[in-house]
């Protein structure tokens, strides 16, 4: 990568709780994008991603943004919040979007955008990670289904049952008692997805959902969450092609002072 970098190159890196994404922009467009799990060594994982970005301007976002800025002093690093990064990234990838929903590993964010793409209002989940990607991951593990196929697994349900607990610990024991009653794992998975969507819809309504809504973050890969959200809101949802790259792309765009290509 080193040989083709120049002053016009700007990188955005989104250090989330579960994964880290890197987007590199050159004047003629998105030049490079990559992704790695955060694991237990975010700095080491970042180092692998940014290897070769010497002298390049980097905009860091995500919960590890400060750690990144402190750990990579040799790079020209600025930090912005995920809120701004997702607003910018969505504006670029889905210019028509008026509301952004991002469900990541431990955060759910709702951002309301102005006509010009500025953040008008936002809301984030409180200290508890209930209803986020972490919840889905935990529940998929409990039902012994790979996280990547958990959404499709839930879509195979034949009955919609309600799971009332949103606390990960309580929801697991509720799922266990449903299993003991002979409920199929697919139906339990559907109930868990419904719980997440109910919670998310409540947050969306607090901020106000102006259509169209763009759905970003890792959980936007889950087809069951998308389907249930569309049902709940009564509107089609836009999902960008790489929904987990939105933050990194938005961060890089910030470094261009809003100039797109």
């Amino acid at each position: 990568m080193k040989s083709v970098l120049n002053d016009e190159t700007i990188a955005g890196i989104d250090i989330g709780s579960r994964s880290i994404e890197l987007a590199v922009l050159k004047p003629d467009g998105l030049f490079h994008q990559s992704k790695t799990p955060t694991a237990f060594d975010p700095v080491g994982q970042c180092r692998k991603l940014v290897d070769g970005l010497i002298g390049c301007r980097v905009i860091a976002t995500g919960y590890g943004r400060r750690l990144f800025a402190e750990s990579f002093r040799e790079l020209d690093v600025s930090v912005i919040t995920e809120i701004q990064a997702y607003a910018l990234g969505t504006r670029f990838l889905c210019p028509e979007a008026k509301t952004v929903l991002d469900i990541g590993g431990q955060d759910t964010k709702v951002i309301s955008l102005s006509e010009t793409g500025k953040v008008l209002k936002f809301e984030m989940n409180d200290r508890c990670a209930a209803g986020t990607g972490k919840f889905l991951e935990f529940m998929a593990t409990a039902l012994q289904v790979p996280l990547e196929s958990f959404g499709n697994f839930a879509l195979r349900s034949d009955r919609r049952i309600r799971i009332n607990s949103m606390c990960t610990v309580f929801a697991e024991s509720e799922a266990t008692s449903l299993m003991a009653r002979g409920e199929s794992p697919e139906n339990i998975a559907m109930g868990l997805h419904m719980g997440i969507v109910q919670r998310t819809a409540a947050m969306l309504r607090r901020v106000g959902v102006s259509a169209p809504l763009a759905f970003a973050g890792g959980v936007a890969h889950n087809p069951c969450v998308i389907k249930l959200l569309e049902e709940e809101l009564g509107q089609a949802i836009i999902v960008p092609e790489d929904p987990d790259m939105v933050g990194a792309i938005g961060a890089a765009l910030y470094g261009r002072n809003g100039r797109v290509f």
Binding site: Y63, T81, E82, I83, Q84, K118, V119, K121, F122
Partner: protein
């Protein structure tokens, strides 16, 4: 902060108070010195939760925890306690606290507008007077009460004047430093000494203002912090806001300017009624409706040229949490400013989450601020000096 030995030297009874609604003029006129009791740190909460439910606001738990662990020096020094029925949690906690020290509970009417509310509150003021008289053995002298009223009015005027320096384009001191100054108003023994201290501070503020010094960048987003009381130990949101590049220019809460513009009528024929009138006007969220708070916010937004408002509510504080919606609607729709509601407690477990929200809020308030300040539509009530 007040030196405990100063209290002992004064040789008078000490009244522990918890709230802005305690009529301090009356307490002093009956021969006791009121001091604010601790309730703003996380530390004693674990001990309090042995008795109180954990799903209670941290302020109540902390206050009770300090009392039962005997770790608040002002509580130890207090001969008796004065409390108010400002919320369900507090009034029931006071039943337990009353087992430790003599406690007088003032019953509040929850409306400032009904004429019979004032009559009721007047009776409560008189009842408090009798209680303090009994414990100090000193009768309230009307002239002394009038003197105390005048003193406390002077203090409110001076503290308010200090707070106004922060309205300048170049904010002279940090919001964190201003909080310490504001907190001092609940900790003094001798009025002349305290008034001198305030006057001295005003001249220092004048010097800073004249030098043009500011701990903040020139284009700093100007934040008004409202909501539940904060203080040393629970200043997390204030500290984070300033760490993230904002300036908290004004606090509309019990530690800040809430109530400072409300003076007691010094010429009233019945000073007890004058006290009742003044204290009932304090725009606390326990009142319904609490329109005084929105009016005050409206004025302060102009006065301090605010770019955005942060409403801090403590977990399980129902009145402030519900009222946040009204405050948010007013700030966003009525004034067109950025608004952020934060719910937190005294622990540090949510610091990073709060930081992200506050940073995003400042990004928002900052990007709107220059446009707003130049807008002719923006009302400007600020007159320098």
């Amino acid at each position: 902060m007040l030196d405990i030995s100063e209290l002992e030297d004064a040789g008078t009874k000490v009244a522990g108070v918890y709230c802005l609604l305690a009529p301090v003029e009356l307490i002093r006129a009956a021969g006791a010195i009121p001091v604010s009791l601790c309730g703003k740190k996380q530390k004693p909460i674990a001990e309090a939760e042995r008795v109180l439910p954990s799903s209670l606001c941290p302020l109540i738990k902390s206050s009770y925890g300090y009392a039962i662990t005997d770790t608040c020096p002002y509580f130890s020094a207090s001969d008796f306690l004065i409390a108010e029925t400002t919320c369900d949690g507090k009034k029931k906690m006071y039943e337990l606290l009353g087992r430790i020290k003599p406690l007088h509970l003032m019953h509040l009417p929850y409306s400032a507008n009904e004429p019979h509310a004032l009559q009721f509150w007047h009776r409560e003021i008189l009842r408090l007077g009798s209680f303090v008289e009994e414990l100090t053995g000193q009768k309230i002298d009307i002239d002394h009460l009038r003197f105390q009223i005048a003193i406390h009015n002077s203090i409110r005027r001076l503290v308010r004047r200090i707070s106004r320096f922060q309205a300048a384009e170049r904010v002279p001191i940090s919001g964190l430093d201003m909080m310490t100054v504001m907190e001092s108003k609940s900790f003094w023994v001798y009025p002349e000494k305290y008034l001198d201290l305030l006057r001295e501070f005003i001249s220092e503020m004048e010097d800073i203002a004249e030098s043009g010094f500011s701990p903040f960048a020139p284009d700093v987003p100007r934040v008004l912090l409202t909501g539940c009381p904060i203080g040393k130990g629970s200043e997390k949101v204030l500290r984070l806001t300033e760490e993230c590049g904002g300036a908290v220019v004004c606090m509309e809460n019990c530690t800040g300017v809430k109530g400072l513009d409300l003076l007691v009528d010094e010429d009233a024929s019945d000073p007890f009624m004058a006290l009742a009138r003044r204290y009932l006007q304090i725009p606390c969220s326990c009142m319904t409706p609490n329109l005084g708070r929105l009016n005050l916010l409206d004025r302060l937004i102009d006065e301090y040229r605010v770019d955005g408002v942060i409403d801090l509510t403590l977990q399980y504080c129902h009145t402030y949490s519900i009222e946040s919606r009204l405050v948010g609607d007013f700030v966003e729709n009525g004034r067109g400013l950025s608004f952020l509601h934060l719910e937190t407690d005294y622990s540090d477990s949510d610091v990073e989450r709060l930081r992200t929200r506050i940073e995003a809020f400042l990004e928002m308030a900052g990007s709107h601020s220059s446009a707003q300040r130049n807008s002719p539509a923006m009302r400007s009530g600020f007159e320098p000096g």
